[in-house]
Amino acid sequence: MTPDTALRHSAEAEAARLPALLARAEHLAGTVLLGDHGRRRAGMGDDFWQYRPAQFGDSRRMIDHRRSAHGDQQFVREREWQIAQSVMLWVDQGASMRFASDPKTLGTKADRARLLGLAIAVLLVRGGERVGLTGTSLPPRRGNAQIMRLAQALVVDADADYAPPEHRAMLPHARAVFISDFLGDMAEVRLALTKAADRGVRGVVYQVLDPAEEQFPFRGRTIFESVGGSLRHETLKASDLRDRYLARLAERRDELAQLCRATGWQFGLHHTGDSAQSALLWLYRALDGGTA
């Protein structure tokens, strides 16, 4: 296989995944009814707000002749003032996300995270917001073409076992969504969140975990390996580790929640065994709540 065809082959494989992700994201987003997002006041925007009589000072150009032709009075058509927020996504592409305890019934955490990320992006774009990725790779833009670009960017896998959150080039006062399992180094997370808080960025930290990671249903002599293979731990009696593992997991979650409270972020938890739709709803309301 020449490099040319190999490239094309992988490109087609990638492209084959895209519509599926897109379709699922669109489908998921379609289940959420968009509420009002306008400013409830006249201003710059696309949507009609009201007709008001032409006042002195209005330029002729502003007169809406179709309305004015109904009578003698002249009207000016006003539009609702709409402003677009910039929302930045960070979806963990690390190897640890590519894990599913039961591949037959459960998808990987990465699948779920990408799905949620893209779905919230679809919703936001429909709401007129600008959506992009953290970092410099894909700055926030609006429009359906951006959805396409997001989808392409999201399906790229990273090699590292635990990918650190991208915190560079954050737009000030923008919104951010971090989706990950947050099993990696907490220092990076803390750094990213404090840095974001410094720049006035607020947002949502969404932890996606596999049910097995919550239950630790292992027994007997076991060698645990990370998905990337960089870490390993051997135990002779896995069931003994369960309590201590769960304690550590709760501790980490507490730390995340504490961090979020400190920085004004919101913290959410999702398991791949649960419905994606409820997760999307929570995510959307968390963002919307922040917006309003």
Partner: protein
């Protein structure tokens, strides 16, 4: 083979492997179960956690025990353990198997042969030559290889007798002929007999003797006798053991001729008693049916007792002439007969007409000369059916003309007038004595007493066949008793009176014996040798050692005295013997047989037959080891956490999914009952389905048109026609089948042809229509014609002829001469008239009164002419214009005539209709 604690081992050294088990324990204990590798993102949280306890890196003790057991079972299993090992007790010399082989061992014969077989196998393994000697059928002993001897085993059968002295002698000779020493295994039956001890001693001189004998007692059943109005049965046993009750069953033929148990009586042995009796009281009819008694559940000749005449009391009808000498009993013609017969026969008295319907065995006419024609006819018929008429002479017979000039059917000989008297006061000469009985006489062998004299007798007329009929005569050669066979019965005439008037014969014991020999009476006691002197008995049924009865076949006859008291043996097999009309049973046990238990010298070890068979355990132990290893696999998986519930579910999913593919019965016909109802509630016309939908549709439409026409014009009111599948549908409901022939229709199956032939024979009619009269004449010229030949070849069709002008089809309803359909072909073929049918002068048609033609064959495509749609409009055009319509009308008329012919037969062929028909014909 080494025996350890009752279990033998073929490879005992392998058991040393058990010593390695403790070592294995230590090794296995140190090896922890292999770890599982799991991918787990949460490993980051696990880093630094340490195991608290380190116990589970050792195999748990119960798993170790499981593995130890598996290994131990394998080692022991491979060592070849054998339960109940047979240990060789003898040396290596030749081995002689001695069998009693009497009936007493028949019950355990299978066990015995099995034991011998195993001993032969063992001898074969040891390479010992084996000889077999059965004492009841001794043959020269030859020592053979064990497997050669084993091939003789199935031929050994117990004999229904005990070894006689001659047999013991022969066995001793056979043993003496053997060179060298040998060991003996003696399989005894548990009964003692003469000569056994000497034989044992002779065998012990040649080598060791060991005995094999069942501990069970031997049971036997003695012959049945009839005393005190009951059948007396005696059961015996060899050992006076504890109390025991055996059932004696009486078997015989029921009125339908099937052998069944007729009665049953328990016989209880008291404790210590070796004999018990049981009385069985039965009606005479039932008693006469019994053929044998058996001890229930025993299978030996000794437990079987056959019955003979002793149980069968004959019915004898006694009829004398007018008895006007009341009170003079000793002079009564029947007195001596009654005395002689009463102990052993049932006597009937009365009028001959009343007694014959009771079908007695014997009718005695004492001095009766003439019988009414009705009586003599009835008597002749009864004799012909097997009755025995016994007549005695007397003054009346002597005075009458019976059988004087020509032989009376009911008399064995012609008689001379008057008779004679000798040695009386008014005559010369001495009273006559009896001559010794001739050899062919049934009385042959009976001693002639000196004091029997005859003073008067009726004389037989000399005749060519007189000599054949005399069975006893006087010393001067004149006949005393004559006999003639009639059909299956016989007539016997004593030429003297039945009382002591003419002779002293009725006073003697000879008279009773003669009656017994003639089977007029049967002896109440068992006949002695003297009683049977001079008789020869042929065996009817003989029994083998198991008590199974078989036809005697061509076994030679036995002399009477031998039958009475000789011991049973090869020359006198126990069974049922007959001589003339008399039957005598010879059983294994006689009235005085005692069953003595066999005693063995103390030097001979006696073993029971119930030796437990060798039972190799190796296979079972190896299976156990495998099962334990499987258990170890499961336990190991469970221990190392690999046996998750999901995994178990996956395993369980590999289950047998035996999908029972129930073949759905093709429902060709809805419900046979509905079909039958639809076809028979009204008259239904039917056509055969050809498989060509167009032809089938036209046929159905044609029959619809014909049915409509019949409905409108005649009193025949058919309902809607049906289409018939020859393979599946019943044909008997339809008077007429219309069968359009297409070149490509399938040939019906054999079953369908059988149905069609039955249909034709039972009065059905098939109208074959080749539908090609427009292009060809009848015959094989067209494809449909050839097809018709194929179709009709297996059918039962009589010779055919073109429909003659006087055939009844021409006038059953309409007067017709042409039978057009859509084509106006002339030829229609029907069953040919009988060749002798001739036209009578002046009559318009022949007298053909028989039968409806089973087939009508033509090619005019009648259905097409008849065919109408549901509104009654003609479907297909016929001819042109008015003449075409006329042709269609004629086609309908032919159809009407055809149905009328089928339904009314040859009614219109009856000459009664001739005048009306002549009138209609205008002649």
């Amino acid at each position: 083979m080494t025996v350890l604690g009752g279990i033998g081992f073929t490879a005992p050294w392998l058991l040393l492997g058990l010593l390695a088990l403790p070592v294995l324990w230590i090794i296995l204990r140190a090896v922890p179960p292999a770890p599982i590798r799991r991918r787990f993102p949460g490993v980051a949280l696990l880093l630094g956690l340490r195991d608290d306890e380190t116990v589970t890196d050792r195999t748990p003790w119960w798993l170790l025990l499981l593995r130890m057991l598996a290994v131990a079972a394998m080692i022991v299993g491979l060592a070849g353990p054998v339960l109940n090992p047979t240990v060789n007790r003898d040396g290596n010399g030749p081995l002689l198997i001695v069998l009693d082989g009497t009936w007493a061992g028949a019950g355990h014969w299978g066990d015995k042969i099995g034991l011998i077989q195993s001993q032969l196998q063992e001898a074969g393994r040891a390479g010992r030559p084996v000889g077999i000697l059965q004492l009841t059928a001794p043959e020269p002993v030859s020592f053979q290889a064990a497997n050669a001897a084993a091939s003789r085993l199935p031929g050994l059968k117990p004999m229904p007798w005990s070894p006689s002295d001659a047999m013991i002698d022969r066995a001793t000779e056979a043993l003496a002929a053997v060179e060298g020493d040998f060991d003996t295994h003696w399989f005894g039956d548990g009964l003692a007999y003469d000569g056994r001890d000497t034989l044992i001693a002779a065998l012990q001189e040649r080598g060791t003797v060991s005995a094999y004998q069942t501990q069970a007692e031997v049971l036997g059943l003695g012959p049945a006798s009839f005393e005190d109005n009951a059948i007396q049965l005696t059961a015996r046993r060899s050992v006076g053991g504890p109390e025991r009750t055996v059932d004696i069953i009486a078997q015989g033929r029921d009125p339908a001729g099937n052998t069944r148990v007729l009665a049953q009586v328990p016989a209880a042995f008291e404790s210590g008693a070796t004999e018990t009796t049981a009385a069985l009281s039965l009606p005479a009819e039932l008693r006469a049916r019994i053929t044998r008694f058996e001890l229930r559940g025993l299978r030996s000749a000794g437990a079987l007792s056959m019955t003979d005449d002793a149980l069968r009391r004959r019915e004898v009808a006694l009829i004398a002439g007018r008895d006007d000498r009341e009170g003079l009993e000793l002079l009564s013609p029947l007195h001596y007969l009654e005395q002689a017969l009463a102990p052993s026969a049932d006597l009937l008295t009365g009028a001959l007409g009343d007694l014959l319907p009771a079908n007695p065995d014997v009718v005695v006419l004492a001095d009766i000369a003439t019988l009414s024609p009705a009586e003599s006819d009835a008597l002749a018929e009864w004799i012909d059916g097997g009755g025995m008429l016994l007549r005695f002479a007397g003054p009346r017979l002597a005075a009458s003309d019976v059988s004087r000039d020509e032989e009376d059917p009911l008399m064995p000989v012609r008689l001379r007038a008057g008779g004679r008297s000798v040695g009386g006061a008014m005559s010369w000469g001495e009273p006559k004595m009896l001559a010794p009985f001739a050899e062919e006489s049934p009385f042959y062998g009976l001693p002639v007493p000196e004091d029997v004299t005859v003073t008067a007798q009726v004389m037989a007329q000399p005749d060519p066949n007189l000599a054949n009929r005399v069975i006893a005569s006087l010393s001067d050669g004149t006949p005393l008793v004559t006999r003639k066979a009639i059909g299956q019965g016989q007539v016997v005439l004593f030429h003297v009176t039945a009382n002591a008037e003419w002779s002293s014969l009725p006073l003697s014991g000879l008279f009773v014996e003669m009656l017994e020999r003639l089977a007029v009476s049967s002896a109440a006691k068992r006949p002695s040798a003297a009683d049977l002197e001079g008789t020869t008995w042929t065996p009817v049924q003989v029994m083998d050692g198991f008590g199974t009865l078989s036809d005697a076949g061509t076994l030679p006859g036995v002399a009477g005295p031998a039958l009475a008291d000789a011991p049973v043996g090869p020359d006198l097999q126990p069974g049922l013997y007959r001589s003339g009309d008399r039957r005598l049973a010879r059983n294994v046990l006689t009235a005085d047989t005692t069953l003595a238990p066999a005693a063995w010298p103390a030097s001979i070890p006696v073993t029971g037959l119930a030796v437990a068979a060798e039972w190799p355990l190796g296979g079972a132990l190896l299976v156990l080891a495998l099962a334990l290893l499987v258990g170890d696999i499961v336990a190991s998986l469970a221990l190392s956490g690999r046996l998750s519930p999901a995994g178990a579910g996956t395993t369980a999913a590999i289950a047998l999914a035996a999908v029972m593919a129930m073949p759905q019965a093709a429902q060709a016909q809805d419900d046979p009952e509905d079909f039958a109802l639809a076809a028979t509630s009204e008259l239904v016309l039917a056509h055969v389905i050809t498989g060509n939908p167009q032809v089938d549709d036209i046929a159905l439409a044609g029959l619809r048109g014909l049915a409509d026409t019949l409905y409108f014009r005649t009193s025949v009111e058919p309902s809607l026609p049906m289409s018939i599948n020859l393979e599946t549908d019943e044909l008997a409901f339809f008077p007429l089948l219309y069968w359009p022939v297409t070149p490509d229709q399938p040939i019906p199956s054999d079953e369908a042809y059988a149905k069609l032939n039955a249909y034709l024979r039972s009065g059905g009619m098939i109208l074959f229509d080749t539908r090609d009269a427009d292009v060809s004449r009848f015959g094989a010229a067209s494809p449909t014609g050839r097809k018709l030949q194929q179709l009709a070849a297996p059918l039962d069709i009589p010779p055919l002829e073109p429909l003659p002008s006087d055939h009844v089809l021409t006038r059953t309803f309409y007067l017709l001469q042409d039978f057009p359909g859509r084509h106006a072909g002339r030829e229609v073929w029907v069953e040919a008239a009988p060749p002798d049918a001739e036209q009578i002068e002046g009559m318009p048609f022949r007298n053909l009164n028989d039968g409806v033609t089973p087939v009508v064959i033509g090619g005019n495509d009648w259905a097409a002419a008849w065919a109408v749609d549901r509104e009654g409009r003609a479907l297909l055009p016929v001819g042109r214009g008015f003449s075409g319509e006329r042709q269609r009308e004629l086609a309908f008329r032919f159809g009407v005539n055809l149905v009328m012919h089928v339904l009314t037969g040859n009614y219109k062929s009856d000459q009664v209709h001739v005048p009306a028909l002549l009138d209609r014909l205008g002649q």
